[in-house]
């Protein structure tokens, strides 16, 4: 009956040409809560026995028996609990303000009697913004929690937990902010808009089941959402604000830095005030967001990411994330796309509508495939209560995947497209990375679509664009899109964040073998005139001699090649790998100690740039004296520079952009610059430079 009704409604809605309604596919219901607790839910988790555990802002953990609708109290007296998970043995693990706590019912009466401290090895300054989120649990049973930084609308308590970082405004000033009265607002900017003065504020912390904690990643602001996907990858959302032009979703890996600088003070050996670090340097250090939520459109304060379940249960493909949000009445689906080894992808609206309300904070799927949603506001925009969303068995017409191409996107659908092609509009914009709060859309432009092709089975649509700009969020609006049966596309605005672009990558297709350029102790691959004891190869490491050695050139000439090597340089050092040389000048892969060399301040002369012509977009460069991994791909007009596993530069030799840059460069007067093949040259620029593992493969 339900299915019949829904079909009827769907048909009716199509007949009336109304805007698509998600509630033709899903139903939402309110779950009654007892009056004895604050109806703000910090966490919700479906237990292995099918009951629903929830923690409330008033400090309780209650458990619902869905069969009877009865709630019972399991624990009480917690402080701002913001998430909970179940251990294999049935204990509940809750993240609260001061610690990760394991709640055990040791006498079997259904009520926790042991509040075991799993981990309290992080700081509390007393600042009102130091929320503690999580835990997410990996397959090995480790917990991951994320710690909010403090807000400069207040200072800290005089009594804090944990060592007080001495970087920034003095400890005394931070602690006496109330006595300072009207002075505090005048100086608070020096604290940083959001700050980290006690350990590990702004970090994701990994905690073993036994309670050993360690910093897992740096660079977060208000990382409310933390969760694993089916493949064991950790995802964290953060909120728009300082250093967050718009709210991001990060794929978080160990040791990474995710852009908000306050937490850098907890990096071993770090001594500088994060506010004094040049933005370009922070920009180079940070990992880009896999996905972006345009502020006010898709999310203002995204919360938990949760992996989708069996499509037979909830109507969405497996392998996606659903992300909740505090301020807007919609969810986002995130469709990941692996490009060049990095995850990036598309946000697609899901379940949009006022019925959903706002304030959606924590989610959990039950055995039947219903999604339980706990709401919260904490005095900000948000809501209260517990909702349950269930799929009614009709699969909506959906975008299933968006794949970035070299010059466009390939959009796949779960059902064949109708005859009428979508009314397609494409735009792209970016955001400014800066200490200010948020960012307007920067460089917002419509993109002319070069062409659209639909596959024979009408499940794939290829959108060709003139080119793709790295670092931009592409918005593809698929207006008035219907499937073969006339059902509307549900979620028709695709927002793809281009972190890496797709190269022609003939390099990876080549089957020619790599030649080791440093195979022979006598440097057989190199021109004899150059070496004569001035460059030395010892245990596989090629070193420029102490005296003026002169540059070292290969014997053979290379035009199209894939060159891979490792390099390190002395403090303040400068060198380069030069190729396609004419009249002594060629394209140079710059090697520099960016931090200590004056040219490191200029993108065009920093490491991995094509010297003076094309800057690298971002370079996760290691410190002087440490090995970096580099790769140069020169394939016809297509040039790529890689640094430490990241494609940091991609350009088309001879394109309009290239020509404009070339004419401004120091090489503008060099005839036939960059044309044809040449020997490859290791530059002697008076620095102690070292190379190892240098291999080349021709692509001709």
């Amino acid at each position: 009956m339900k299915t019949f009704l829904a079909l009827f409604l769907m048909a009716a809605s199509i007949g009336m040409a109304a805007t698509p309604d998600w509630w033709n596919y899903y139903t939402i219901e309110d779950v009654p809560l007892p009056e004895t607790v604050d109806h703000q839910l910090g966490g919700v988790d479906v237990l292995s026995d099918g009951r629903i555990a929830a923690c409330f802002h008033s400090g309780e953990v209650l458990i619902l028996d869905p069969a009877t609708g009865e709630w019972t109290e399991f624990a009480r007296g917690l402080q701002t609990p913001l998430g909970l998970v179940e251990d294999d043995d049935g204990a509940l693990v809750v993240m609260q303000w001061a610690e990760l706590t394991r709640l055990r019912d040791t006498d079997g009466d259904g009520v926790a009697d042991h509040y075991e401290t799993v981990f309290d090895g992080f700081g509390i300054s007393g600042n009102y913004h130091e929320f503690a989120y999580g835990p997410a649990k990996d397959k090995a049973g480790n917990y991951y929690v994320s710690l909010n930084v403090a807000s400069n609308f207040a200072g800290t308590f005089k009594t804090v937990r944990g060592p007080f970082s001495q970087i920034g405004l003095t400890e005394e000033t931070m602690k006496s902010w109330q006595e300072l009265g009207d002075e505090w607002p005048k100086i608070k900017a020096q604290a940083g808009r959001m700050y980290s003065r006690v350990p590990y504020r702004g970090c994701v912390v990994k905690i073993t089941p036994e309670g050993e904690g360690s910093v897992f990643a740096y660079g977060f602001r208000s990382p409310d959402g933390i969760g694993f996907d089916d493949e064991g990858r950790l995802w964290v959302t953060d909120n728009q604000g300082d250093w967050r032009g718009t709210s991001p979703l990060y794929h978080v890996e160990e040791g990474g830095f995710y852009g908000h600088p306050a937490s850098l003070v907890w990096k071993p050996g770090w001594t500088r005030n994060p506010l004094d670090v040049p933005v370009a340097e922070l920009d180079a250090m940070r990992t880009r967001a896999a996905g972006l939520f345009p502020h006010g459109e898709l999310a203002n304060s995204p919360t938990q990411p949760i992996a989708t379940i069996d499509p037979e249960q909830f109507g969405l493909p497996r392998g996606e994330l659903i992300i909740a949000e505090m301020n807007q009445p919609l969810f986002a689906r995130f469709l990941a796309d692996d490009v060049g080894g990095a995850l990036q992808g598309t946000m697609v609206p899901f379940l949009q509508g006022i019925e959903l309300g706002i304030g959606r904070h924590r989610m959990s799927f039950d055995e039947a495939g219903s999604l339980w949603i706990g709401k919260i506001h904490l005095g900000w925009a948000g809501d209260e209560g517990l909702k349950k969303v269930s799929w009614n068995g009709i699969t909506p017409f959906l975008v299933e995947g968006v794949k970035l191409l070299k010059n466009g996107f390939e959009i796949s659908f779960n059902q064949p497209l109708g005859k009428q092609l979508p009314n397609l509009e494409v735009s792209r914009h970016t955001y400014t990375y800066h200490k200010e709060y948020g960012s307007p859309k920067i460089d917002l432009q419509n993109v002319d679509v070069s062409g659209v092709r639909v596959s024979a089975d009408r499940r794939t649509m290829t959108v060709a664009l003139p080119w793709i700009d790295r670092g931009y969020l592409y918005t593809l609006t698929l207006g008035e899109t219907v499937n073969h049966a006339g059902a509307p596309l549900m979620g028709d605005v695709l927002r793809y964040h281009v972190v890496n672009t797709v190269g022609a990558d003939a390099a990876s297709k080549s089957d020619q073998p790599f030649e080791n350029l440093l195979a022979d102790a006598d440097l057989a691959a190199w021109r004899p005139g150059d070496k004569a004891g001035r460059w030395a190869l010892t245990e596989g490491v090629l070193t420029r001699g102490e005296i003026k050695a002169g540059s070292l050139n290969t014997k053979e000439k290379f035009q199209n090649f894939d060159l891979r090597f490792q390099w390190k340089i002395s403090e303040g050092g400068n060198s380069g790998v030069i190729y396609r040389i004419n009249h002594g000048r060629g394209l140079e892969y710059q090697l520099l100690d960016d931090e200590n060399h004056v040219r490191g301040k200029e993108p065009l002369s920093s490491s991995a740039a094509i010297y003076d012509i094309v800057e690298s977009v971002y370079a996760p460069l290691r410190q002087a004296g440490e090995w970096n991994t580099a790769r140069i791909v020169a394939d016809g007009n297509h040039i790529e520079h890689w640094l430490n596993g990241v494609k940091v530069l991609e350009t088309e030799f001879g394109s309009a952009d290239w020509t404009e840059r070339f004419l401004k460069s120091k090489n503008a007067k060099v005839e036939n610059y960059g044309e044809g093949g040449s020997q490859i040259q290791l530059q002697d620029h008076s620095a102690n430079v070292h190379f190892r593992n240098m291999r080349i493969r021709k692509l001709d």
């Binding site: 040409a17 109304a18 805007t19 004895t36 607790v37 604050d38 109806h39 008033s58 400090g59 009480r76 007296g77 917690l78 402080q79 609260q96 303000w97 001061a98 610690e99 706590t101 394991r102 040791t106 009697d113 042991h114 509040y115 075991e116 401290t117 309290d120 509390i124 007393g126 600042n127 009102y128 609308f153 207040a154 308590f157 005089k158 009594t159 937990r161 109330q178 607002p185 502020h295 006010g296 459109e297 203002n300 304060s301 301020n327 009445p329 949009q352 509508g353 006022i354 019925e355 706002i358 005095g379 900000w380 925009a381 809501d383 200010e436 709060y437 948020g438 307007p440 207006g479 008035e480």
Partner: protein, 296 residues
């Protein structure tokens, strides 16, 4: 089903009735900017995180766009009960001007609804005692536990220093309002003031391991290296008394507890020798003993 009467959702709701594609044309630049930058905190006609647009237009009526621009770029705090607005200095002036135009237009003829928002608000219920709850407390670390005992006594236990801090009965003793550190309004009846409680502490940071609830009373579990301590806090038999029942494991010598205190209450011990605020216990006595805090 609860509807959330947020202006953003209402507008989308209204737009949904229109044929597809007509959404953008129905909204002014000011409305779009408001929905992007302001709606999270400001509703049209009721208080939310910030004041309503109706309230806002009283301060910044038509023609007061300069003052509106100045405020948005560098906001202060007009209502001490609200959170301070973040500076929106990243917005170009023409966008803020559009927003002001929209604020003036959309509030025409509207009055502010009473009440902050649609939440009922939560009132702390009468708690079954004893009640053990984590809280910010004065003169203790921010990781503290409040123990409300049957009768009218309360105690503060610090999970960072792993020690009992003080006892009070007067409600006015603790002031936790606002964003500052909680303060004593009136001195507690009993408060331990020695920098270090245990003679074996020797600068070692104790490890807090959690607590058990036994008939609702907390038994704290912590350790100094090899010394394991359990400390249960319960009501004494006499009204107005608090007992701290200790069990120590791993003590190899006699120990001294520095129980120097301030306040009107008295402390006594059922074992060892208590003199000048110092309790001396043999190794055997330290295994299990009770302190009794009583009113004068």
């Amino acid at each position: 089903m609860t509807m959330v009467w947020n202006p953003r959702t209402l507008l989308v709701g209204a737009a949904l009735l229109l044929p597809g594609g007509a959404i953008a044309e129905t909204k002014s630049a000011g409305q779009l900017a408001y929905e992007t930058h302001c709606v999270a905190c400001h509703m049209v006609d009721s208080r939310w995180v910030g004041p309503s647009l109706v309230k806002m237009v009283e301060t910044y009526p038509d023609g007061e766009v300069e003052a509106f621009l100045a405020w948005v770029k560098n906001p202060g705090k007009k209502d001490p009960k609200m959170i301070q607005m973040p500076a929106m200095s990243h917005l170009p002036e023409d966008v803020v001007t559009d927003i002001h135009n929209y604020v003036v237009q959309v509030t025409e003829g509207k009055v502010e609804k009473r009440g902050r928002h649609h939440f009922k608000g939560f009132k702390e219920p009468e708690r079954k005692l004893p009640y053990v709850v984590r809280s910010f407390m004065p003169h203790s670390s921010p990781a503290s536990i409040l123990i409300k005992l049957p009768g009218d006594l309360n105690a503060c236990w610090d999970t960072e220093a792993c020690r009992f801090r003080y006892v009070w009965s007067d409600e006015k003793t603790i002031n936790t309002s606002g964003r500052g550190e909680p303060k004593f309004g009136a001195p507690p009846q009993y408060r331990e003031t020695a920098p270090s409680l245990w003679s074996f502490a020797d600068g070692v940071k104790p490890q807090f391991k959690g607590y058990r609830l036994i008939e609702g009373y907390p038994e704290f579990d912590y350790a100094y290296g090899a010394i394991q301590i359990r400390e249960k806090v319960v009501n004494g038999a006499e009204p107005g008394t608090v007992l701290r029942q200790f069990n120590l494991l791993g003590v190899t010598d006699g120990i001294v507890m520095d129980l120097t205190d301030e306040g009107v209450a008295m402390i006594s011990a059922d074992a060892g020798r208590l003199a000048d605020g110092k309790l001396t216990l043999t190794r055997e006595e330290a295994a299990s003993f009770t302190l009794n805090i009583s009113q004068p």
